[in-house]
Amino acid sequence: MSAIVTATARHPETLAGGLPISLSHVGKSFGQISVLEHFNLEVPAGQFLAVVGRSGGGKSTLMRLIAGLDAATAGRVAIDGHTIDRLHPSVRLLFQEARLVPWQSTLENVGIARGPDWQETARRTLADVGLEGREAAWPSVLSGGQRQRVALARALVSHPQILLLDEPFGALDALTRIEMHRLLERIWIERRFTTVLITHDVAEAVALADRVIVLREGTIALDIAVNLERPRQELADPSAVELQRQILDAV
């Protein structure tokens, strides 16, 4: 199961906003337990990839490797052709929890890295995720969905070329999740950063991604293109249902 996987879905109009990710013969083990072995994956620039699998299947490990938070025990993880051994400056990460700094206002959280004109940039990005007027609010008064919006704005403010999402909508209620899907898809269409979404929700994967891979026991059990019209309507397309069934079978 170590065949090099190539992209099967493409959006030819814009591929400029992202960087390609390449994993070759990557291995990762924690002590005696090996999570990934000879793992190969190519993510072309600008692709929206969803990684689906059961818990313990290596999804989060894969994402931490791409983010540079953990080092691979074997093989090579490369972004834009360069092997990474630490955090890549154009990679941003959305965690399962929003991880907002409680003692900083919404605006300060978005502009966490500060930098020139951070207030103005942060304000604009907040408006972009639909949180205009909430700049001064403390994170503790925001709802779960609003917090993830702030986290998304924080990730987007530096114009990342790769966005990694580690089940960021898992804790949200169904309606808020659909809102977040629409928001993320809209922003992705505008910016075309390479996106890796880790999720256990097959419907979410089909609703958002160009390509879905199923990760089972550290190997790719299924690699499938999702060629549906964008922007997508939640479950409107019968072929989406068929795709979901196919993916579920592989999980």
Binding site: E97, R99, I112, A136, W138, S140, V141
Partner: protein
């Protein structure tokens, strides 16, 4: 939608304040007032020996006398000055070492186990030694206060730094914060609630240490005033000294609460109606 509920909340709060606000403000004072009245009655009726336990009215007269002749203010200032110098020295050291040990493993390895050992010595047990070392001037009192406040501040600062959410620290590194920004924006503010708890404990120890130190030997201060009064069997002045200590302790507590409300505005526990609308 949020605005509607917030407006409802403040309106509701305003109504409650106007109707039961007075009752609420007075409630904590009900018990002390009742006790004072009983105490006054007990001494007046001779149930309690007024020579050993003077009536509140007698203490009030003593208070007025001491206030008018300036001795009360003089002694209170003397005590407060010692307390604050000791607090700044001991608390400052506790804070610095707490931060250093929290952030830097070698410092912790070197210092923490020793400090934990020393911590268990009751610092007041040092009094005979301290008198030998420093005599009976200002130094021994400030020294004892400094030791008394050092440990609560040290332990809580260290604990505060250590219990910073590692997920936040990881987030900060993903978002490119350097070490200086990490300490200033994540670690120090995150440790602050714990540091303030340490400060509150420290203020308690501060007065406690000072009372004992001043009772042993001092040319001024509330402790001196009380011990001097004992020589002349002025029980009213002795009681007055105790009450002044209680008030100073209360004042310190009020001050820390005010600081907490100010610097912990972000904390859900300190948020008022206005904080929500921000």
């Amino acid at each position: 939608m949020a605005d509607v509920s917030v407006a409802g909340f403040t309106a509701d709060k305003g109504r409650r304040l106007s109707v039961t606000g007075l009752k609420k403000a007075l409630a904590p004072w009900a018990l002390p007032i009742v006790l004072l009245i009983l105490w006054e009655l007990a001494t007046r009726t001779g149930l309690v020996n007024a020579r050993l336990m003077p009536a509140p009215s007698t203490v009030a007269v003593a208070f007025w006398r001491a206030l008018v002749d300036g001795s009360l203010i003089y002694h209170t200032l003397a005590s407060t000055q010692r307390a604050l110098i000791g607090l700044v020295i001991g608390g400052g050291l506790g804070f610095i070492i707490g931060i250093a040990n929290g952030l830097w493993k070698p410092a912790e390895t070197l210092l923490d186990s020793t400090l934990q050992m020393v911590r268990n010595i009751p610092h007041l047990a040092l009094i005979p030694l301290v008198i030998l070392w420093f005599g009976i001037g200002e130094t021994p009192k400030i020294f004892l206060v400094a030791i008394g406040v050092f440990f609560p501040i040290y332990i809580n600062t260290f604990y505060g730094v250590r219990t910073i959410d590692p997920q936040l620290v990881e987030m900060a590194s993903v978002y490119g914060l350097d070490r200086k920004a990490l300490i200033r924006r994540i670690i120090l503010p995150g440790a602050l609630p714990s540091i303030l708890v340490g400060l509150r404990y420290a203020l308690g120890f501060m007065w406690l240490t000072l009372i004992v130190a001043e009772t042993i030997s001092a040319p001024s201060g509330i402790g001196y005033m009380t011990m001097n009064a004992r020589e002349f069997l002025q029980t009213d002045v002795m009681l007055l000294g105790i009450i002044v200590y209680a008030l100073l302790g209360k004042g310190a507590d009020v001050a820390t609460r005010a600081i907490e409300r100010r610097v912990l505005v972000w904390h859900p526990a300190y948020q008022t109606g206005e904080g929500v609308t921000q």
